[in-house]
């Protein structure tokens, strides 16, 4: 299959430090503006598929809103896994405690994978992405 650049968004649509989710040919992608340089990565987190545009972008580092796994948007590398949560000393109803235990047990087996990146280019004020 031949790869081609697809016009995604106008460069002015994302302020520096911002992100925007787009869908191109069935691919869910987020475009990040890192101080005027545009990067595109897959929209879904490499841990549990959360939508990454709802997270935070700081420089080239993208943090997932769900469990705070972090990724480098320049190459998609997973830099850290999920941050463990804690409910403190709160006493939960037994069914909820059991449910959370079950979730925790399942999550132990979830790997945090690196995310896919896409080549971008800026042309005539448009961010284009190679698919």
């Amino acid at each position: 299959m031949s790869e081609r650049f697809i016009r995604a968004i106008s460069a002015g649509e994302i302020a520096p430090g911002g992100m925007k989710a787009v869908e191109l040919d069935g691919n869910e992608i987020i475009i990040c503006n890192c101080d005027g340089k545009f990067y595109a990565v897959q929209r879904r987190c490499g841990h549990m598929n959360a939508p990454l545009e709802l997270g935070t972008l700081d420089g080239i580092y993208l943090t997932c809103p769900m469990h705070c796994a972090q990724f480098d948007i320049t190459d998609g590398e997973a830099l850290s896994g999920p941050v463990p949560s804690d409910i403190g000393h709160e006493i939960l109803p037994p069914f909820l405690g059991k449910y959370l235990q079950n979730i925790e047990m399942l999550m132990k087996h979830v790997r945090t994978e690196s995310i896919r990146t896409y080549t971008t280019k800026l042309e005539a004020g448009w961010v284009q992405i190679r698919l």
Binding site: G59, D72, S80, G81, K108, R111
Partner: protein, 116 residues
């Protein structure tokens, strides 16, 4: 903890980026001893891989969430008074901005400076 193979060098770089933003406004900087800085950051990456959180590499974990959270790097805000007296944090990853030779700093226990 979920399985994740961490590239220590990449994670060190990102921790450096995030920590610098936190410690700068607190009047601290990374130690000028680069070898020590790299070693300590690498230990934090290993601890993060094990526990999900980059704890201070020189402090023991006590299995007490509230206390353990006080040694998450950079732990400066929790132990500020002692760190200000000794011009560095306990493990030495951060020093006051006016420190250029951390080896010359005195090592004063908290009791001696009487503030913790």
């Amino acid at each position: 903890m979920s399985q994740h193979v961490i590239n220590i060098e990449s994670r060190k770089k990102s921790l450096h980026y995030f920590f610098e933003k936190v410690v700068g406004p607190l009047g601290f900087k990374f130690t000028p001893d680069k070898e020590m800085m790299n070693f300590l950051l690498a230990q934090e990456v290993i601890l993060e891989g094990r526990h999900g959180i980059p704890f201070c590499p020189c402090q023991p974990l006590r299995n007490d969430r509230a206390r353990d959270m006080q040694i998450v790097c950079p732990c400066i805000p929790f132990h500020r008074k002692h760190f200000d007296d000794i011009k560095r944090c306990w493990c030495g990853l951060f020093v006051h901005k006016d420190v250029f030779d951390p080896d010359k700093l005195p090592q004063l226990p908290p009791k001696e400076v009487n503030n913790e």
